[in-house]
């Protein structure tokens, strides 16, 4: 469950208006939300906040049933982060690691047994269509392959919350549709999903409530 009450976020040592201002909304466990808005509206900043890369400067944030403030101990933030799967716009893969190692990272950081890791990674890579590239270095993949690797890494550990920033940008239409179906399926199984996108066709294909941002403010909560 996600709950924001009057949350604002301002970059450190920056004057002027906050990047995110007075945001309040709820997303229940297993809920799906589109995150829409023009470029510069604050979609990526909001996802970073929900991924705990930044902490609110004002207001209260409750994430996966934990209240998060600037005083929250780092160990708690780390445990929360382990329960979140994030797909970044720029993929953020480890260029020197193979596809398999990249996808295995969240499981290894949770000290899962190597047998289990092998099974999970194999299954997810097969599903995203990277069964042939499993041993290829991430730096040698095409944009679409990198995006699929990033998606596989975000969901391999079955997180309670999935955040995706333009996850279909580099994907062809059939792959994008397949990914949407997966997100819908994960949501129905109890995973909370928030997807930021500009792709209206995608939104039409999966009609779900939308959070619309403009200049850092929430102008529509379709819940």
């Amino acid at each position: 469950m996600i709950r924001l009450k009057a949350v604002s976020w301002r970059r450190e040592r920056r004057e002027g208006a906050p990047v995110l201002s007075n945001l309040s909304f709820d997303v229940p466990q297993g809920g799906f939300r589109w995150l829409l808005g023009p470029s510069g509206a604050g979609k990526t900043s909001l996802l970073s906040l929900l991924h705990l890369e930044n902490l609110p400067t004002d207001g209260t944030l409750c994430l996966l049933d934990k209240d998060v403030t600037a005083q929250t101990p780092r160990a708690v933030l780390v445990r929360l982060r382990q329960r979140i799967g994030m797909v970044h716009q720029d993929f953020r893969l480890m260029p020197d690691l193979s596809v398999a190692d990249n996808v295995a990272l969240p499981l290894r950081l949770q000290h899962r047994p190597e047998d289990e890791i092998t099974d999970e990674v194999h299954a997810i890579l097969k599903w995203v269509g990277l069964g042939e590239c499993i041993g290829v270095r991430a730096s040698r993949l095409s944009g679409g392959e990198q995006q699929r690797t990033a998606i596989a890494r975000a969901i391999v550990h079955r997180p309670g919350l999935i955040l995706a920033d333009e996850p279909t940008n580099a994907l062809e239409e059939p792959q994008a549709h397949k990914l949407l179906d997966l997100f819908g399926e994960l949501s129905s199984m109890g995973t909370t999903v928030i997807v930021a996108t500009h792709n209206e066709a995608l939104v039409r294909r999966l009609p779900r409530p939308a959070l619309v941002l403009e200049r850092g403010r929430l102008v529509q909560d379709g819940a």
Binding site: A75, Q82, R92, D101, L109, T118, H122, G135
Partner: protein
Amino acid sequence: MALPFSGRKDGLSLSEALPDRSLFVLVAMMSFLAALTLTGATGARTLSTRWAGGAAQLLTIQVSEPDQPLIASGKTGKTTTQQTRADTVLADLATLPSGTQVHRLTQEELARLLTPWLGEAGKTALPLPAVIEVRLAEGQEAPADLEQTLSTHVPGTVVEHNAEWSTRLRALAESLLACAALALATVGGIATLITALSTRAGLSTRRDIIEILHGLGATDSYIAGRFAWRTGGLAFGGGLLGTVLAMAPLLLLFRMAAPFAASTLQASSTAMPDWRTLPDLLPGDMLAGLAALPFVAAFIGWATTQFMVRVWLRRMP
């Protein structure tokens, strides 16, 4: 089915972020200096202990014409006794507190002491006084009137006290020890600084990777531990190499210094010990100190890196 994992655990690639050569070589150099300093400190401490506990407890008594019968003065005039002058002094010394060791140097021991100054002629040509070495028990002091008593009984007897010299020499040794401790602390400080700078450089080159790992839920302990084991391992290797390299000059110096380390006059010799027997003569605490050096270097590397990485990670939420 086994996956083609690349064998790299997490993409940190620390062998590239913290290269072998720079840290390893610098720590080896630091350990080399530390080994030399540690040996100097051990030597200074040994001498200090010896001078404090040994020389102050040591009296050297010279008796001229030692084998002549003692001429005693009395009310009836001078009378010759059956006892020699040396025997009389030894009899007086026998009244000293129990635990006192009294040893009259033999002709061979005297000749060996005099050979550097008088050559082989020293063995026969000159009338030599008896030299009696008196080693008092731990904590015992010579009676204040000993010299007067001996001079009265056996005129011409000379008592040499080492107490004044030992005090000065002990002060000198303690100053050397303090300097050695300061030098060791400086070497440790430089090693810490080198590790800190090396770690900072490694963190800077891996900033993006660390941010990704952080985002995936890597704990501070995990990231700091990965860096710390790398620097700890390099520091251990460097420490081991530096210590081993220092052993050659140390053994050479120790061999040259061994004759000065004799604890008693009769044990002193100008001859240097044989190379084969040298390891048996090395002080145990010095060897323990040298053996500990690589571990100390590893600990400094490990602890400094843990601290640096954890402080650096505090900038991230």
